[in-house]
């Protein structure tokens, strides 16, 4: 417990540093929200633009803007998105659940099936099963995400009509209760598969290599010398040791998953953070963008902590402190 608190406290300066770096990086880009608004309106006078800037606080020098922003962040106020005419807090929270859903299902699918397939390939080494799994992993590893997404839509939505093409739920149907859950799950299938395929391939390959490495270890010979069954050796002795590197990798990649979700969310019009970030980038909606970045950095810190805790349970050699 003490360890968790310590790690959380350590996370605070990291997150603040990320906020500051993001702030300067984003402000280095040309143009601001006012330029975009004015451009879209088509007829804005320089006076009107100056007035808008003053209203948004964009006329202040950068350090002042940063201090104001940091002060707001500390009081959990992420500012106001002029683009969406909503407080950033609400907007992000609204979209976050969609992304969290997609990410969770993706991780479960990718890690779960990755481990299973890797295990199977390692157990059936150099047979046709191993070959099929290895080739499958190689192909999915090498295929771009957006193309997979588009092909999924073409085959399963347009041709076969099994799944909806886009969105998170059928808004027009006004489902409630379990019907709504089923509807969302139905919409979730294609984006999840698309996003998880790449990671699935990665974990399959890692798991296979890791299992093979562990099979060569001395303790496996000991286990055989003890007269254990191959089943026991694989599932109790080797599996637990082989999982360690896969868990580490999965933890590191949660951050990358948010980046990957931008493409998938765009292809499937999934109303998540990735798409929101993408839109706000073009609208120069820096408040919103910073908010999203802040949330993702908190997420990464949190997930790393969770992975470390899981690791302590899996590997007794890691001591908590």
């Amino acid at each position: 417990m003490k360890y968790v608190v310590k790690r959380l406290v350590q996370g605070v300066p990291i997150i603040l540093a990320i906020v500051v770096i993001n702030f300067f990086l984003l402000n280095m880009a040309e143009g601001d929200a006012v330029d975009v608004l004015a451009g879209e309106a088509g007829s804005a006078t320089p006076e009107y633009m100056a007035e808008l800037r003053k209203k948004f606080g964009l006329d202040q020098p950068l350090p002042v803007q940063l201090m104001v922003y940091l002060k707001n962040v500390v009081t959990l106020d992420l500012g106001y998105s002029f683009r969406h005419d909503m407080p950033v807090n609400e907007l992000i929270f609204d979209r976050f659940s969609a992304t969290a859903l997609l990410m969770t299902s993706t991780i479960i699918l990718a890690v779960g099936f990755g481990i299973l397939l890797g295990l199977l390939a390692a157990m059936r080494l150099n047979t046709w099963k191993d070959a099929v799994i290895t080739v499958f992993a190689l192909i999915t590893y090498a295929t771009p995400l957006f193309w997979v997404g588009l092909m999924m839509i073409v085959v399963f939505s347009l041709q076969l009509g099994w799944f909806p093409t886009s969105g998170m739920e059928n808004v027009a149907a006004f489902y409630e209760g379990w019907d709504r859950v089923v509807d969302i799950a139905h919409h979730l299938v294609l984006p999840t598969i698309t996003l998880s395929l790449f990671y699935l391939a990665l974990y399959t390959r890692m798991m296979r290599a890791s299992m093979l490495e562990q099979y060569g270890q001395d303790y496996v010979v000991t286990a055989r010398a003890k007269g254990l069954t191959e089943r026991r050796i694989t599932f109790v002795h080797v599996l637990r040791n082989a999982l360690l590197p896969v868990v580490t990798m999965a933890g590191v990649q949660v951050g990358a998953l948010i980046g990957g979700s931008v493409i998938v969310e765009s292809v499937f019009a999934w109303p998540g953070l990735g798409m929101l970030a993408f839109e706000s980038l073009f609208a120069r909606d820096l408040n919103l963008l910073l908010g999203i970045f802040l949330l993702s950095s908190i997420l990464v810190v949190a997930v790393n902590l969770i992975v470390d805790i899981i690791y302590c349970f899996l590997d007794p050699r890691i001591e908590v402190n």
């Binding site: 010398a225 003890k226 402190n321």
Partner: protein, 543 residues
């Protein structure tokens, strides 16, 4: 004679195609009776381990397999029984312990669980009975605090404790045969003596037949009833321990026994008055844990070297002897300045080098050079041997052609072919690589050579050659040598002076012969008493 347990008849083990020989083991026959210890002795690659593994059906299939012959265990040929039956035999009727107890135990399973498995898979007992049996076993092998050990993980135990736990597992079901594959090679000498005692006691109690694999004739002298000597896959000599040790017949056995360092301290030479290296109260600690915003508590501090005073005179060899963790390697690294010492002075010809920074140290670097323990890890695999050796002098400003010419000369001195110059380290055997390591150290024309366990990774016959080479070079180049070793037999053979280290302190220093004949400190006495095959060594020396 007691009843015959195991009879290996004309066993051949095939190696995969493309290996440097067709057979790992060829035409091997041996017998093991109840209550008897048979030692299989041989150098690396002699096929002794594979023979043992074949008995358990544990050959690394499908590449290495039994070609012909039979292994009869109580009337069954284990090379022909079903996989099911083989599993039944393993761990309950024949069991095995291994060299490296750290890697032989599953790192993520508690000791208790790993013991428990054996009962679960061989006999039917309730969970409670199994737990009680496990604790009983831990007591039998003299592990302290069995209730705690049961829940401990392998990394929480010391090397000796791990090997005890392995033995407990192996003897859990009172097997008829115990196969021990170099079970004490990775252990310190005092721990080794304890483990050998334990094996002997358990054997007496259970009337087990022990097939003991080792490369160490000292260990053989301590425990063997009968000895089987293997060379390149063939059994070259079999006999009772007495016969083989004292009247070896085969030339290979003779040469092996001749190569064993004699426990016969070298004759004292006149000591020079020139002190070339002196340490004055040198200390070094390792701390762990970095505090962060005052949250982390300051970590454990390990005092690796504590106020060590040693002096090395011109032309002499000072042995630093100790078990693992005694601080002997840390001391060497401080002296050669691979590590900064925390306190004290290291005087090289009267100049304190302990406080010099990198730049000022450079002038002294070539004065002290080091030969490392592991000849496989200490040479850059992507550099040619000639470059490895000449790199140092070239960095020190020697002309390239001259450095290369010197290198060829050095290769000749250490007994390597001139063609070695353009080869890569992996093309050489362990002993040859250690020669390269020595040539590399000599290239800078040092006054002092620090050798950190230079022969402990080598077979005994190679070991003798390297020790001879070091001695020859020391004479030829008038070197002073700091020789770090855990093996008192080696120390006796090469050192003029010996310093014994324990827990980071030098507890006793003196001329080798005096220290061996009349040790003052309890620990030195214990170390000397623990030398395997001590009585045999002395009987040989006296005859």
């Amino acid at each position: 004679m007691k009843n015959l347990l195991l009879s290996i008849d004309d066993l051949s083990i095939l190696l995969p195609e493309g290996s440097d020989r067709d057979y790992a083991v060829q035409g091997a026959s041996l017998q093991l009776h109840a209550g008897e210890t048979v030692c299989i002795v041989g150098e690396s690659g002699s096929g002794k381990s594979l023979t043992a593994r074949a008995v358990m059906g544990l050959l690394p299939a499908p590449h290495v397999r039994v070609g012909s012959g039979a292994i009869n265990f109580n009337g069954e040929d284990v090379t022909k029984v079903s996989a099911e039956r083989l599993r039944g035999i393993r761990g309950s009727e024949i069991s095995m312990i291994f060299q490296e107890p750290m890697t032989a135990l599953n790192p993520v399973m508690s000791i208790g669980d790993q013991v428990d498995e054996i009962f679960r898979y061989h006999v039917s007992m309730s969970k409670k009975e199994r737990a009680e049996k496990a604790i009983q076993l831990m007591e039998d092998v003299n592990l302290p605090d069995p209730h705690q050990i049961i829940n401990a993980y392998p990394h929480e135990l010391s090397g000796g404790q791990r090997q005890r736990a392995m033995i407990a597992m192996a003897l859990a079901l009172g097997p008829k045969i115990l196969i021990a594959d170099e079970p004490t090679t990775a252990l310190d000498v005092t721990t080794q003596a304890q483990i050998l005692d334990l094996i002997k006691n358990m054997q007496k109690r259970l009337d087990t037949g022990v097939l003991f694999i080792t490369h160490d004739f000292g260990v053989v002298a301590d425990i063997a009833d009968r000895v089987v000597v293997m060379q390149e896959g063939k059994i070259v000599e079999t006999g009772t321990a007495k016969q083989v040790l004292n009247k070896p017949q085969h030339p290979y056995t003779k040469s092996l026994i001749a190569a064993i360092p004699k426990l016969n301290p070298r004759k004292a030479r006149k000591r020079s008055d020139d002190i070339v290296l002196k340490t004055d109260e040198v200390s070094k600690s390792f701390g762990s844990g970095i505090s962060f915003f005052g949250l982390g508590k300051t970590g454990r501090e390990v005092k690796a070297v504590r106020e060590v005073n040693v002096e090395l005179r011109k032309g002499e060899t000072l042995g630093i002897v100790g078990e693992s963790g005694s601080g002997k390697s840390t001391l060497a690294r401080c002296i050669i300045k691979l590590m900064e010492s925390d306190q004290g002075q290291i005087e090289l010809d009267g100049v304190d080098i302990s406080k010099l920074n990198r730049n000022n140290m450079r002038a002294y670097r070539n004065r002290i050079q080091m030969v490392f323990q592991d000849p496989f890890a200490s040479l850059n695999p992507r550099s040619r041997v000639g470059d490895i050796i000449s790199q140092g002098p070239i960095l020190q400003g020697v002309d390239k052609d001259e450095a290369h010419a010197n290198t060829r000369e050095l290769l000749d001195i250490v007994g390597l072919d001139n063609k070695s110059f353009d080869r890569f380290p992996h093309e050489f055997s362990g002993g040859q690589r250690q020669r390269i390591g020595i040539a590399r150290a000599l290239a800078l024309k040092p006054d002092i050579l620090v050798a950190d366990e230079p022969v402990s990774a080598l077979d005994v016959s190679i070991q003798a050659q390297i020790l001879e080479l070091l001695d020859k070079i020391r004479k030829q180049m008038d070197l002073s040598m700091l020789f770090i070793t855990h093996d008192l037999r080696v120390a006796a053979q090469v050192c003029d002076q010996v310093a014994v280290m324990q827990y980071g302190k030098v507890i006793e220093v003196g001329p080798t012969a005096k220290l061996f004949a009349n040790p003052k400190h309890e620990y030195t006495k214990a170390l000397l008493a623990a030398i395997p095959g001590k009585d045999w060594h002395f009987s040989k020396v006296n005859s």
